[in-house]
């Protein structure tokens, strides 16, 4: 087994573009779930409308990529309003049901033959992000350290993706520690207390849903742009649960929870993947027990096991505060 390869694989994933995209989407979800207490099970739906907002604007309608970004953001606001207006006055479960359904309906709708003229149906859309790569200021070369190497194109994607993560983590830190954030955090704990003090809980929940959803749509755009491709089946409802997994791992309701959570989640996943692969080829694991084709499933089982251990030994997540969590029990 070559541990250097295994560890460098883990590192590459942990700081890779996908980890950045998931960190960004999880920052939005952290506002919903971690701070406001909204059960949004359809963050992937916000990512989808963002991604297709960009892709369809350019590929189908011939607009500029930057107009596409605005359209993607606009779509996410509309989606948030459609989901929130009827449900946010009701009990928390209603938003949960509406969002989980919306995520799947959107995917089926965007891949349907009816929507194909705009969305490309099951084939998706490709090559719409040239404008993004045209403004890459990084000179053409190979960059990297140790066994981790990047082209200037990769580096540009990483720079922008992690830049967005840093920007929104910062914005979120400011907002959560403001009087607005105080109201939001109070709503998570007891809506009625907040109402009795003259705050419109409904309006605050709506703001949270819209803003967190818009951040999710930016993550979707980033995912589409770095692949130069969108496909409806990328936006599976299960992705939202990966977001929850990494959020709980890092610590929900914590500033760095989604960022560290995403880095670790992808690093660990890749670590298991690489380690299992090497163990099989080195003959440590017999191919009767686990074949190379089953690695994908096996690593998720290991992540699940890891999460269970985390819940047992550190239920508040890596960054969570145990003291704060114990207050729930009282």
């Amino acid at each position: 087994m070559d541990w250097e390869v295994i560890l460098s694989d883990a590192l590459r994933s942990g700081i890779g573009p996908i980890a950045a995209v998931y960190a960004l989407a999880a920052i939005g979800l952290n506002l919903h779930f971690g701070y406001t207490g909204l059960l949004n099970f359809g963050q992937i739906g916000f990512m989808l409308v963002g991604a297709y907002g960009v892709a369809a604007s350019v590929s189908t309608f011939g607009l500029s990529l930057w107009v596409g970004v605005l359209i993607g953001l606009g779509s996410s606001v509309i989606l948030a309003l459609l989901l929130g207006l009827p449900t946010l006055r009701l009990r928390a479960e209603y938003l949960a049901i509406a969002t989980i359904a919306a995520g799947e309906i959107l995917r089926l709708f965007y891949r349907s033959s009816w929507a194909e003229p705009v969305t490309g149906g099951v084939f998706g859309l490709q090559q719409f992000a040239d404008e993004f790569f045209d403004i890459n200021p990084i000179p053409r070369d190979q960059y990297g350290f140790w066994l981790v190497n990047y082209s200037s194109r990769d580096l540009w994607v990483l720079l922008v993706a992690w830049g967005l993560v840093a920007l929104f983590a910062g914005v979120m830190a400011l907002m959560v520690h403001s009087p607005w954030g105080r109201v939001i955090r109070s709503i998570r704990e007891d809506e009625d207390a907040v109402r009795s003090l003259g705050k419109s809980v409904y309006a605050y929940k709506m703001q949270s849903l819209v803003f967190g959803g818009a951040i999710g749509s930016l993550a979707g755009m980033m995912l589409a742009i770095q692949n130069q491709s969108v496909n409806p089946d990328t936006y599976n409802p299960v992705e939202t649960f990966f977001l929850y997994t990494l959020l709980v791992l890092g610590g929900a309701g914590r500033m760095l929870g989604p960022v560290i959570g995403s880095i670790l989640f992808w690093a660990i996943l890749s670590f298991f993947d690489s380690a299992l692969r090497q163990a099989i080829s080195a003959g440590y694991i017999s191919s009767d027990v686990l074949s190379a084709a089953e690695i994908g499933a096996a690593r998720f089982a290991l992540v699940g096991l890891g999460l269970m251990l985390l819940m047992i030994f550190r239920p508040q997540g890596i960054f969570g505060s145990r003291r704060e969590m114990l207050l729930d029990v009282r």
Binding site: V171, L174, M175, S178, P179, W180, G181, R182, V183, R185, S186, E189, D190, D192, A193, V194, R195, S196, L197, G198, K199, S200, V201, Q207, F211, R323, E324, L327, D328, R330
Partner: protein, 281 residues
């Protein structure tokens, strides 16, 4: 409470259920609330005189909390309407009722455990510009205002003897301290009328006396107070007016001494076995 101007104003008022007051702040008309077959509230008329301390008494299940919930927008009425300071309040959402100046506390306290005591207080302040999402990031816009809010919060915490807990999580407070915090927090809203649902339940007896003095002081500053209480000594001690509910309706009202002797009140309490104050965690 025999020779202050408030008692004089109420002296000429008849001692019968639903009687009109000379200067009512809150007027309730024909409010009913049923749960399935159970009529929890059926109040024909209830007026609360401005600037008084009005006690709402009655055995368990009389409908006191339900009446509070309806008036404050936390529950809906089946029929009836009510006005506050001359303005229609019927069916208004809870946060609008509070903004109009009618703030209530809860029988089961609703302090926010994961916020500090001070944050609980700051949350209740009105007109904080930083509570708007668009301005929340621009701390220079709201920082000055925040300082004023903290000053006011500290004064109230001092008054309610919670200063030493200022920076602790509210979840670490005792049941009685939570009652105090909830009341102090309600005052941060600067209400014209405050409705307290069993404010003394679980409060340390040594503190009860000072709490009573606070309530009296609030009244003397011009605030209208309406509170639910089971402890008759408390009721007799500070109320200007007492309203007694039983099985959803108002069965008696009048100055404390007259209500204590009223046969309808004695019936209401003896009909069910009850005279202990409610206890809770």
């Amino acid at each position: 409470m025999s020779d202050n101007p408030i008692s004089t104003a109420l002296a000429k008022v008849e001692r019968e259920p639903g009687v009109r007051k000379p200067d009512p702040l809150l007027v309730v008309d024909g409010v009913t609330r049923t749960f399935g077959g159970l009529t929890a509230v059926h109040v024909d008329t209830l007026e609360v005189q401005r600037g008084t301390i009005t006690a709402l008494i009655g055995p368990n299940g009389a409908g006191k909390t339900t009446l509070f919930n309806v008036i404050s927008g936390f529950d809906r009425a089946d029929t009836g309407h009510w006005t506050f300071d001359g303005q229609e309040l019927t069916g208004r959402a809870a946060h609008r009722v509070a903004r109009r100046g009618l703030v209530r506390t809860f029988q089961l306290t609703k302090t926010l455990s994961k916020l500090t005591v001070l944050e609980n207080m700051k949350l209740a302040a009105r007109h904080q510009r930083g509570e708007r999402m668009g301005l929340s990031m621009l701390w220079p816009v709201w920082r000055g205002q925040e300082r004023g809010i903290v000053r006011r919060a500290d004064e109230l915490l001092e008054r309610f003897r919670l200063s030493h807990m200022r920076d602790e999580y509210a979840g670490t407070l005792s049941g009685g301290q939570r009652k105090l915090l909830e009341m102090a927090r309600a005052l941060m809203v600067e209400p014209t009328m405050i409705m307290l649902d069993e404010p003394m339940a679980g409060v340390n007896p040594a503190l009860t006396q000072s709490l009573l003095e606070h309530i009296t002081a609030l009244r003397d500053e011009g605030m209208t107070v309406c509170f639910v209480e089971h402890d008759m000594d408390v009721v007799m001690g500070i109320s200007d007016w007492v309203v007694c509910m039983a099985e959803g309706s108002i069965v008696a009202e009048g100055p404390p001494q007259s209500v204590a002797k009223n046969p309808a009140v004695i019936d209401a309490y003896l009909g069910r076995q009850h005279d202990e104050p409610e206890n809770e965690g």
